[in-house]
């Protein structure tokens, strides 16, 4: 490892601009003549639009135009798509209702846009949006998931009978039945995976510019994947052809999945720029973010796990209902299916698994991928089941897990996945040691003396990252390939630019990607720039989500570096009259192994560009590209242990210890990895203890639409985390990496809930475990103790 190469704790290159306020976000972009968009949004959860009168709004000061769904349809702007086809178990395709960027006839959630005003100032646009008059016919709102699928409930889309989008299954239900028939013990649980609002620090924004001269379009947008945005906007929404559309995602302040999707506002800003003749900017306020960013999770699940007399797992049955909200968002269909049920083997050998998933429409905000996307839901099912089973069987949670761990690799689960490498016991042991698991009994007694209920809980998660290979995801219904591309440009004086299709919105790519180049070419990281987020600069790419940028994005860079290195060695061998095989590149020098012959790196780079003395037939230049399509998913795994103290009088839960032992394969920058784990755990703890999304079940109004009511975790809600890593090398990519961006959010919720249920001696609590819920169960526990 060099001081700045792979494995070094290099300080983040991008932090200087972020912490000095020099970041450049979409809202910082200004173009001449720029005006502002305000969206008119539905105040109702469900209503028909009898008529829209925009005449008063059009007459307001500063207004360039007021556009509705009627104009949008007249211009042939396509409805929003869902990019992953899921078929129900009866073979029928998913039942997708139309999702126009501006609602024309019906609105189905509070906040759905039905018109846009473009005006000279933001205030003028908002004033005019309020002057649009709509004759609404209010319809009953369908909010509750169980109510939505009841026979006779109002149907929200004509396509989806009983509001069911698909009724899908994975695994072998007959095999599961056979396994359960011979079970010595069955553990059953009903679980709620609560709906979350993503809450990226930077709200979504878009700036659409139509250039009448060249008929080119430019879209600045808060996107995790600008190339996919360009592809989808061109291919499906008919706004602009691909060669006439440039999409730029500059600095983006957090995504967590919510900025993967192409939203109505981005499409409308681009289209409205052409319609009104001015560049159109829109920046969401926080209320719009709460109402319209795709939400996460929202499952209800019944799960059963069967054990034999020796406590070996025999089978698993899972029945899940997933709330999709009012419309299918871009990747919504894949989340509770191929990103969820495929992980239901956990870290364990389970011979028979069957999962059934129904996706359901309700009059709520659309739901899609959010940090972890399906994998936190799967982990919650598995790890709540295992911990509960251990308590029921009277064995230690660690021993029950040890008995059932997968120990030989590759391991084919009954639910598609082939685990390539792992050592689950190593993570378990590391976490238990870091947590002083053995000393817990003592700590519990000591806490009792202070009037506190102390509990400990464990979660051994596995997840799948770097979704791929493309042919495999294509066969499962994905509309895109999931490879990544890179281009490495060595400049004539030896500095390097890496163009990547990955997109950094908090992941530190400018540092870690540079570390890889530094490792390979022996250059300092300040000589290496990472270029991303602009479709006019970067050839193509699939963006950043699913913890894929290391395992997939850096693998593409790795391949491009192979080519650069090979060509550089040829040039160096030619210049030093040596054999190509003897050339070594290190510390900014190119050497002939075993001799004192050497050249500075810059001589090779410059030589490539002057072309004065190249090997016969070689093209000048030193610039290579590569596409990398992985051979398999990667499988990060680990063990999290949470310890809580509950104040039984108030129900307040304090997390007194949180330990994470993760196996992410090879690490590029351990400090960056720790940061990702910290953030993920904070979000997971938020889900477990605090973050609740409340809709009024009568009116469908989002009650938690501000930070006054939606509880985000704060620094003082969290302890100082004890994080460490174990390492098994991922065989599926050249760097041996697995991915670390989501693990914290995936592994932590069950650890927290297992700790709380341990402290309370009551397994019934649902997420978020708010103080009142905990207080009620603590009262019961106290009464139980008094009775004993």
């Amino acid at each position: 490892m060099g001081v700045e190469g792979i494995g070094a704790r290099v300080a983040r290159k991008e932090d200087k601009r972020f912490i000095t306020g020099k970041g450049r976000y979409t809202d910082d972009m200004k173009v001449p003549g720029m005006h502002y968009a305000a969206f008119a949004r539905s105040p109702h959860a469900h209503a028909r639009i009898r008529s829209i009168d925009t005449s008063a709004a059009k007459a307001m000061p500063g207004v360039d135009g007021v556009l509705t769904g009627t104009e949008l349809a007249a211009d042939g702007i396509g409805n929003l798509i869902c990019g992953w086809m899921i078929k129900s178990k009866d073979g029928t395709p998913m039942k997708m209702g139309a999702f126009p960027a501006l609602a024309r006839e019906t609105v189905r959630f509070v906040g759905q846009p039905y018109a846009v005003v473009v005006a000279a100032t933001q205030a003028q646009a908002r004033d005019a949006a309020e002057a649009i008059v709509v004759d609404w016919e209010e319809l009953p709102a369908v909010i509750d998931l169980n109510y939505a699928i009841k026979k006779g409930t109002l149907q929200l889309h004509p396509e989806a009978e009983n509001n069911v989008i698909y009724d899908w299954e994975l695994g072998d239900s007959k095999a599961a039945d056979v396994a359960f028939a011979k079970a010595a013990h069955v553990t059953k649980l009903d679980l709620v995976n609560n709906r979350l609002v993503p809450n990226a620090m930077e709200p979504r924004a878009a700036l659409g510019v139509y250039d009448t001269g060249d008929e080119n379009y430019t879209l600045w947008t808060t996107s995790q994947n600008p190339h996919v945005a360009r592809l989808v906007i061109s291919a499906f929404y008919n706004v602009a052809p691909e060669n006439k559309l440039r999409v730029i995602a500059p600095d983006v302040g957090g995504g967590f999945g919510s900025k993967i999707f192409i939203y109505p506002e981005e499409i409308v800003c681009l289209w409205a720029s052409k319609k009104t003749g001015v560049p159109v900017k829109w920046v969401a306020d926080r209320t719009e973010a709460f109402l319209t960013d795709a939400h996460g999770r929202d499952h209800i699940t019944h799960a059963e796990m069967a054990f034999d007399a020796d406590n070996k797992m025999l089978g698993l049955k899972v029945d899940t209902i997933a709330n999709f909200g009012a419309y299918m968002s871009l990747f919504s269909s894949s989340v509770p299916t191929y990103l969820y049920a495929t992980l239901l083997s956990g870290q364990y050998v389970i011979p028979a698994i069957h999962a059934n998933v129904r996706a359901v429409y309700t009059n709520t905000s659309p739901v899609d991928a959010y940090r972890g996307a399906g994998r936190p839901e799967a982990t919650f099912v598995m790890e709540r089941l295992v911990e509960t089973a251990a308590r029921e069987l009277g064995v230690s949670p660690a021993e029950l897990r040890r008995k059932n761990f997968v120990r030989t690799f590759p391991y084919q689960t009954p639910v598609i996945m082939t685990y390539d490498a792992g050592d689950y016991e190593a993570s378990l042991n590391a976490a238990m040691q870091a947590a002083d698991y053995a000393g817990f009994g003592q700590r519990k007694l000591e806490a009792e003396k202070r009037g506190k209920l102390r509990g400990i809980g464990m979660s051994c998660y596995i997840e799948a990252c770097g979704i791929a290979p493309s042919a495999a995801v294509g066969s499962l219904g994905a509309g895109v390939g999931l490879w990544e591309s890179a281009e490495v440009r060595v400049n004539p004086i030896g500095t390097v630019e890496v163009l990547t299709g990955s997109h950094s919105h908090g992941q530190s790519h400018e540092t870690t990607f540079a570390q890889l180049v530094s490792q390979r070419l022996g250059l300092p990281i300040e000589n290496i720039s990472i270029v991303h987020g602009d479709t006019d600069k970067v050839q193509f790419g699939m963006g950043t989500y699913g913890s894929r940028s290391g395992a997939v994005g850096m693998s593409a860079i790795f391949k491009a570096l192979d080519k650069v290195e090979a060509k550089a060695k040829k040039i160096a061998a030619h210049l030093m009259e040596a054999s190509e095989g003897d050339i070594e590149i290190s510390n900014g020098e190119v050497r002939v192994a075993g001799t004192d012959k050497k050249l500075p790196w810059v001589s090779v780079a410059l030589g490539a560009y002057t072309g004065h003395n190249l090997p016969a037939g070689m093209e000048p230049g030193l610039k290579e590209g590569a596409f990398y399509d992985p051979t398999n998913f990667t499988f990060p795994a680990g063990c999290y242990i949470c310890e809580v103290e509950i104040d039984p009088q108030t129900g307040h839960t304090e997390i007194v210890q949180f330990v994470a032992a993760d196996d992410f394969g090879k690490l590029i920058n351990p400090m960056v990895v720790e940061g990702q784990v910290h953030g993920g755990i904070a979000q997971g703890v938020g889900q477990a203890l605090m973050e609740a999304c409340h809709y009024d079940t009568e009116t469908g109004q989002l009650i938690t639409a501000s930070y006054n009511d939606y509880t985000m975790p704060r620094a003082d809600d969290l302890p100082s985390f004890k994080v460490s890593t174990t390492e098994t090398i991922c065989p599926g990519n050249p760097l041996g990496m697995k991915g670390c961006g989501e693990a914290g959010a995936i592994g932590s919720p069950p650890a927290v809930i297992n700790a709380i249920t341990d402290a309370l001696g009551d397994n019934s609590i649902t997420m978020p475990a708010t103080a009142e819920k905990v207080w009620r169960l603590a009262q019961k526990a106290t009464m139980r103790q008094a009775a004993e």
Partner: protein, 270 residues
């Protein structure tokens, strides 16, 4: 936010005359309730009159057993004042527990007391410390000042100028915070005054705003110790209920916070 005209009067008289002459005006003094309301376009005053820079409203002084705080004094100034810390340590601690540092540097005592948010901290101190509220027109005793949710006996245009708190013999303040907003879900201020009387004021929990818990006062007047509160409860019928806590839960919190305030006299407990 709708368009509004911002005024920064330099005297109390100017503030009052601006209000009466401008027709549609609202005072602002920190704005932690008003600004979010304006940003959400839920209010649209044509004029905003900022009281934070009116010299007559600034400053704090301790004379004898009275701590007088000017309306435009920030929470931070109260929290950091050595004089207040010495005279009524619980009051300084209460001010230091409001919101976060940014809020405490902008928010003012007068803004909080005039707004009378049912979950604000200051109203509990005003009631428990038998304070006298002064305005540009008169003086109002604490017991006559609070009249319900966001409602006080201040008349249209009347400006709260200062509040005189009585330094008690002993006091304590305990609160349980709303996890999202950090406003108290139940905050209980207990004070034993030098004349032997006891006041217990509850904020955050009551469905009609801050209130005195008379049963607790009587019990503590006989025996000023946490034990005196044993078994004492408030009726949940008078409590607020929302997504963060039912009326029953808030009733429990009131009892628990009252006990904790008594167990930790001279400081803030949360």
């Amino acid at each position: 936010m709708y368009e509004t005209t911002y005024h920064r009067p330099k005297s109390l008289a100017e503030a009052a005359s601006l209000f009466s002459s401008s027709g549609d005006a609202t005072y602002i003094s920190g704005g932690h309730t008003l600004l979010p309301t304006l940003k959400a376009r839920l209010a649209q005053p044509a004029n905003l009159i900022d009281l934070r820079h009116v010299p007559e409203l600034k400053g704090l002084q301790v004379t004898g057993d009275t701590v007088t705080i000017g309306a435009a004094t920030t929470h931070r100034e109260v929290a950091m004042s050595a004089d207040v810390k010495k005279a009524i340590p619980t009051l300084a601690a209460l001010a230091g527990s409001i919101g976060d540092p940014a809020v405490r540097h902008l928010g003012t005592m007068g803004g909080s007391v005039a707004n009378n948010d049912p979950a604000a901290d200051y109203p509990a101190a005003v009631l428990a410390l038998a304070a006298t509220v002064s305005t540009n027109k008169r003086q109002i005793a604490a017991d006559q000042y609070f009249t319900g949710l966001y409602s006080t006996s201040l008349e249209e245009g009347e400006i709260l100028t200062k509040v005189a708190f009585k330094a008690p013999a002993q006091s304590g303040y305990a609160k349980f915070r709303n996890p999202a907003s950090h406003y108290p879900m139940a905050g209980v201020f207990v004070a034993k005054h030098k004349d032997g009387s006891v006041r217990v004021a509850v904020t955050g929990a009551g469905n009609n705003g801050v209130f005195r818990w008379k049963a607790a006062e009587e019990a503590l007047a006989k025996n000023f110790s946490a034990d005196a509160l044993k078994g004492l409860t408030v009726d949940k019928a008078g409590m607020m209920g929302d997504i963060h806590g039912s009326a029953e839960y808030r009733a429990n919190l009131v009892a628990v916070m009252a006990r904790r305030a008594m167990e930790n006299l001279g400081k803030l407990t949360m």
